[in-house]
């Protein structure tokens, strides 16, 4: 089986690859969002501590 045949998925390329793409995007987002939120939170708290420390 060559690559072209593989990507064609027997004529069902749109349905198969859209399914896999949607899955990939949702799964990735569900990991990245909490990590970004944690970094933001830690940065904000560090700033807050610094302000309170100098006061």
């Amino acid at each position: 089986m060559n690559w072209q045949e593989f990507f064609a998925m027997g004529g069902y390329a749109f349905y198969v690859w859209t399914s896999y793409a949607v899955t990939f995007i949702v799964l990735l987002a569900n990991v990245i969002i909490p990590i970004v939120r944690r970094k933001q939170f830690l940065r904000q708290q560090a700033l807050k501590q610094k302000r309170q420390g100098t006061l």
Partner: protein, 255 residues
């Protein structure tokens, strides 16, 4: 607690202590990610390349490798969420509350994936994107239950109270789980019956079954990764005034 040996009690107290849990998740994370990626690679290779096309559905059936494991996860995570919520409700264990609420977005994600991939499979095979079939409708209700849990938790400022409310909603919603599972048997509509869980004689060939089970296992590890990432930020923001969080931040451990 009598009957339970002391070391075991100590183990659970340590596990349920927020700083210990936070440090543990950090150490576990790389291992979980490696195991997940290996299982995912093996499952995708087996499912998309090695397994033969279906004799009736051709290559379109390959959606099964994400559709079915996602649908299983949507039910599994709901049960975990309800049980953890129940434990938090009865024993007021903070960590159980956090596991319950951190599971909701991951479960909602899998429910969404199951619905979308089902639709993308239904169009070429059934000739329609959507029907109000019992399986599809009950799965859609599951998505609304997850979204309800997320919304309710966000709407209540006091997170201990929010956890109680969410746990009750999650427990009431458990009634939907057997309905989803048995819907294809109770109502004979468009969605096909179970292929794999007929344990005595699954109606699927081994070369197709093994990648499916690998993907299911990969998704279990994914759930652990995503849920623990949610739990980490949830724990930090709830414990922001606790000594361990403050000292971690002042030490500059911005991880």
């Amino acid at each position: 607690m009598f009957l339970i040996p002391d070391p075991i009690v100590r183990f659970f107290h340590r596990m349920a202590s927020p700083p210990h849990f936070y440090a543990l998740t950090e150490r576990l994370m790389p291992w979980l990610v490696v195991i997940f990626l290996l299982l995912l690679a093996a499952g995708l290779y087996g499912g998309l390349y090695l397994a033969p096309p279906d004799y009736q559905q051709g290559d379109s059936y390959r959606i099964i490798y994400i559709h079915v494991p996602s649908a299983w996860m949507s039910l599994f995570i709901y049960v975990v969420m309800a049980v953890a919520g129940g434990i938090g409700l009865v024993w007021r264990i903070k960590l159980a509350e956090i596991v319950a609420v951190s599971s909701a977005p991951v479960g909602a994600g899998f429910t969404f994936i199951a619905l979308v991939t089902g639709s993308l499979w239904g169009k070429p095979m059934w000739g329609t994107w959507w029907v109000w079939d019992a399986r599809l409708t009950s799965e859609l209700i599951l998505l609304f239950l997850y979204l309800g849990v997320i919304g309710l938790y966000g709407a209540i400022d006091d997170k201990r109270t929010a956890s109680k409310a969410v746990a009750i909603l999650a427990l009431v919603g458990v009634v939907n789980i057997p309905i989803i599972h048995y819907s294809v048997e109770w109502w004979n509509t468009l969605h096909q019956g179970p292929t794999v869980t007929k344990m005595d004689k699954p109606s699927i060939h081994v070369s197709m079954l093994i990648p499916l089970l690998l993907m299911a296992l990969a998704f279990k590890f994914y759930y652990l990764i995503a849920m623990l990432q949610r739990a980490r930020i949830e724990l930090l923001s709830r414990e922001r005034n606790a000594y361990w969080v403050k000292s971690m931040i002042s030490l500059g451990a911005e991880r």
